[in-house]
Amino acid sequence: MRKLQYFKDRKKVRLSRSFGGTFAIFMFLVIIGVFMALPIVYSIVQSIKPLEEIFAYPPKFFVKNPTFDNYVQVYQLCQNLWVPLSRYVFNSLFISVLGTVVYVFIASMAAFPLSKHNFPGKVIISLVIVWALLFRPEVTGVAQYIIISKLNMINTYWSMLLPPLAGTFGVFLMMQFMETAIPDSLLEAARIDGAKEYRIFFSIAMPAVKPAWLTLVIFTFQSFWNATGVSYIYDESLKTLPSVLTNISSGGLARSGASSAVAVILLIPPIIIFIISQSSMTETMAHTGLK
């Protein structure tokens, strides 16, 4: 009986949750959710519409006779007008996978001393990294363009690979996480056992912050995957999938089915990666914060 009373009291403690309030919240989220989801649903629907439904008047939101013609058309358009679709897919995957792996490594390597070591210059470097969060790649684009052309990297894979590797977002994320997730006593113990800092980094620090680098994989992959590299690359055979979208969607309504098909193809990999690592994501992002 007393236990029951305790639970009743506990319930009272949480009384601030009214059913009406929860329902209102749910409805509000549904409205925002519909606004967020509709354009994406529309592009999925558009990608399986046959041509006559795309041109139908009045236009319908939903599809009557779904077809994969648009996906076939994307393949043919690329084959005939530019370079084979597989080449774009290869470029996208090559740059995204290589870029992601390298970035996760170098960002973690930089974050480890910044969060766990004491050395001259630490404070100023950490400060600069936080301030640099303000400067998105778009904003420094023109200035980067000068550097990239001086380094003769225009129209090479390098121009798409290297500049994003200099972003401070990942270093910041790893710094925040490592600070709390790696106990200092563990590092001390390893040092007493004679382990070198590089070993400590690879065999103690990295395994301890697995959720953090999984999260970083999502963000990094997503930004590499969506990058068009417009002003750096003019050779069609070096371009990536998003540039196919730009090419095709400039063709107007007749191409809207095909461009939606590219958009859907583009959407799949980041969503798969997001779903796989979503749970580690919340754990990491909880450490993200500026003090």
Partner: protein, 307 residues
């Protein structure tokens, strides 16, 4: 700032020895710092220098003093328009995106687990999808085949199709909608995780102390614990809000009619990558950097009570 926790390191060992002893730290950081130096620090610093020159990438930069800045504000009407548009876009979309990220994250946190994950994916999908915003051009298409036009004509609100994307009366609104649509980004995820990690016991204590509803709870219990996330979200919102431009160009064309959705970023790209007037483009970049830093300092001050 001297680190007083290890006074021996700081005061009794000479600096050169300290640097040598920390070589492992520098070696670990070196790959990133080298890239950071080449692709972020040098570009930003060189923009400041180049903004006082006339530079076309072929000849050496020629020093021109404040000419670029004078030209910007006195002669270049389109720059003034771009500046005004950028401020309007940033002032509207920055706070809306920030507040929306916060409230959606807060509300999602009130729901049960399975629903929560589904909603996070739905809300974050526009950011995840990156280039999918082009679909809005079909939704707002100006002919009678556009979805919005058909819908409004069926309802009898309008009789003729509206040129949503090219009419400068409407295209700013359309771009605002699209930017808000994409504004639940990494700041949003940080908020979701922040709420997720809050200590439950504080809420129970607060309820006993007389906190009556969700809003009081938010103000007295949640916000004071969310300081770091609030700051991080603010950085991401500011950097995003002032970097508007790519979506504008994709949706309303480049340049948009009457430059109605032209922004500083687009103006900079116009001079930097099309006309190759790098000195002038750099000066525009410096103005943009300045505005962003100033906003950040102000916001940081305003949020200091939470951290």
């Amino acid at each position: 700032m001297p680190d007083r926790s290890k006074p021996k390191d700081k005061y009794s060992i000479p600096l050169r020895k300290q640097i040598w002893n920390s070589r492992a730290s520098y070696i670990l950081m070196s790959p990133f710092l080298l890239l950071f130096l080449v692709f972020v620090v040098i570009p930003i610093i060189s923009s400041v220098f180049l903004s006082f020159t006339s530079f076309n990438m072929l000849q050496m930069p020629k020093f021109v003093g404040f000419d670029n800045y004078i030209r910007m504000f006195l002669e270049d009407d389109i720059f003034v328009k771009a500046l005004k548009n950028t401020l309007v876009f940033a002032i509207i979309t920055g706070p809306i995106g920030y507040i929306m990220s916060f409230f959606v994250a807060w509300l999602i946190n009130e729901l049960n687990r399975g629903l929560r994950w589904f909603l996070i994916l739905v809300m974050y999908a526009p950011t995840l999808a990156g280039n999918i915003y082009y679909i809005w051009t079909y939704i707002f298409s100006g002919d009678s085949k556009g979805l919005i036009n058909t819908f409004l004509m069926n309802l009898g609100i309008i009789n003729d199709p509206v040129q949503w994307l090219t009419d400068s009366k409407y295209n700013v609104g359309v771009v605002l909608i699209v930017i808000v649509w994409m504004s639940l980004g990494s700041g949003f995820l940080a908020f979701v995780a922040g709420f997720n990690a809050l200590d439950r016991s504080y809420f129970e204590a607060a309820a006993i102390d007389g906190v009556k509803n969700r809003f009081q709870e938010l103000w007295y219990v949640t916000l004071p614990q969310m300081g770091p996330q609030l700051l991080f979200g603010a950085v991401m919102s500011i950097s995003g809000a002032f970097a508007v431009g790519y979506a504008n160009a994709a949706i309303t064309g480049f340049p948009s009619s009457n430059y109605s959705t032209h922004t500083l970023l687009l103006h900079m790209l116009d001079y930097g990558t099309i006309r190759f007037e790098m000195g002038y483009a750099s000066a525009i970049a410096v103005v943009l950097f300045g505005i962003m830093l100033l906003t950040w300092i102000l916001i940081k001050k305003a949020l200091s009570k939470f951290s």
